[in-house]
């Protein structure tokens, strides 16, 4: 059975200084030089796939990274951990920012003919995605879809999978027939991706990353919301600094001046 992990690395925006936050004429930030990271959901998705593979060796794992110049390090990490194949999509790049339907269309076209039974994404496919890419991909493929997935294992019955998802007040366990799209959220079972051994890293360093350059969709044909403007959100508050001599002085001033009235209102 072939399973695909699709992800879009996140830029480490904490590295940006004040003047880096000004978008250019194409409404893009210059973040190409910024370090990229896997989101917590992508890490969990990859870890769950590795666990599923450990339980059932017939699963063949493939990873596809989207739109990121620095994706190779993430893909090499996944190869080191046991993914069989790793690919990087290079085109189209910038047009897909904040365009989950374009992401989903590209993925759907990539999957057609690939004979995958399971596609796993994180709940955030890049910045501000909110699980849209995974949901739209399932709609395009006509496959079952479950979001906020916290765990999954192949069930003994062929072509079926047992999936757990965290809802507001309960954990729901589904057994569903494959193929399926899963969007992974928080998981206590697999909160972080395992670390490869040095031997695994060395082996992966010699492996090649496939570059997928085909035009997988015509972005202009997609009726997605069009980005018209970007403006800063000012979240700074007028901070008052408490300067007492001891922690007790500061706590007393905090309570007397700022909290007592609020707590008793």
């Amino acid at each position: 059975m072939k399973a695909l992990l699709a992800f879009k690395p996140l830029s480490d925006l904490s590295m940006l200084s004040e003047h880096d936050w000004i978008p250019n004429e194409q409404l893009r930030l210059n973040i190409d030089y910024v370090r990229s990271t896997l989101s917590c959901f992508d890490e969990t998705a990859a870890e769950l796939l590795l666990r599923a593979q450990a339980a059932d060796q017939s699963i063949r794992l493939e990873a596809l990274a989207f739109n990121d110049n620095m994706a190779e390090s993430h893909l090499k990490l996944l190869l080191a951990l046991g993914f069989e194949r790793a690919s990087r999509l290079t085109s189209p790049v910038c047009e897909c920012a904040f365009n989950p339907l374009a992401n989903a269309t590209i993925l759907a076209n990539y999957l057609r003919g690939g004979q995958h039974s399971l596609v796993v994404l994180g709940m955030q496919f890049g910045d501000a995605d909110d699980g849209q890419t995974a949901a739209m991909l399932a709609e395009l493929l006509g496959w079952p879809y479950l979001s906020q997935v916290s765990d999954f294992t192949l069930s003994p019955t062929p072509h079926t999978i047992r999936v757990s998802r965290m809802a507001e007040t309960e954990v729901q366990h589904f057994t569903i027939a494959l193929p399926a799209v899963l969007a992974v959220g928080n998981s206590t079972q697999a909160a972080a991706l395992r670390i490869p051994t040095l031997k695994q890293k060395l082996a992966a360093s010699r492996a090649s990353i496939e570059v997928v350059t085909h035009e997988l969709c015509d972005i202009e044909q997609i009726n997605s919301p069009v980005l018209k403007n970007l403006s800063p959100i000012n979240k700074q508050r007028k901070t008052q600094w408490l300067e007492g001599k001891t922690p007790q002085d500061k706590a007393l001033e905090l309570y007397d001046v700022y909290l007592r009235g609020r707590m008793n209102s």
């Binding site: 904040f98 079952p144 366990h173 997605s224």
Partner: protein, 319 residues
Amino acid sequence: MKIALLLDARSPAFLRHANEMWRFLQDSQIENATFTFWLFYHQDKPSELPLLHLLPAEIMWFAVPEPLQTEACLASLEAAFAEQKPEVILCSSGPWGNEMAARLGMRLHGSAITSARSVLLSSSSCTAYKAVYEQHLLAEFSLPLPPHCISVAQSGGGQSQLSSAGQVPQRDSREPVPEHEWLLSVNVDHNMNVSSLSEARRVLAVGQGVGSAAGLQRVQEIAQQLGAQLGASRPVVMNAWGDMSTLVGISGAIIAPEICIAAGVSGAAAFSTGVCHSQFIVAINNDPQAAIFAHADVAIVDDMFQVLEALAVCVQQDT
């Protein structure tokens, strides 16, 4: 213009979702709209409803089985859309609302956007505003095709007021819940660690400064003395010092308490996004350069445990 407001009345967060939707409508500019409520329920309908200070033209009820399956909701909504043809379907905040907006947009051949803060709606255009780049920038999007399927951004806190809906025409959707061959079985474990952080009036949110599971236990006791719910940043949860249900931030709870005390927290964007709707923020950290101070109303540079313990004494003495 017809706008359908989509909410899950079975959800424990129903009133918070309604309140977030009301705030969204307050922040939006909408020309000549007629509102309809589309509400999901299981077995019993609530006798009072959050009507958001609107006079809805109709309330349409959709009975769904437990546990809620999105596929069942979508089939009912497609039928309701075919009948009523609203130009806008406004979905509640959170993962369920986001999924509904994305999938309805596809099924109804319209446009979808999630976590919108507000909207400018006229008979000829729809512009939605959404925070992007880890909530640093506000993006303005033009939505090309109706129906515009929009989910509301989470802003936490508050519950919408209830009122009698006796004057509003109500009816039930007759669309049968479809069976899906791919769904082989479903069962449920009730989660005992249900977090009410999003509705809490006071939150003590701690970061790596707690240092250990024992440190977290110590602040848990202080939180109780302060009458606050305990929240934690992602590193605290990743270290297994705290439960996933305490997670505050972009991947956990978005909170909006009257008082938020952020102690031992660096102030990473993912965390700050989770607390930025708080009415009053106190930051305590022994690093004066910590980013959290920029988001705080009051800043204290000191040992978090000593300050919090002294604060708990003040509160205890006063009560």
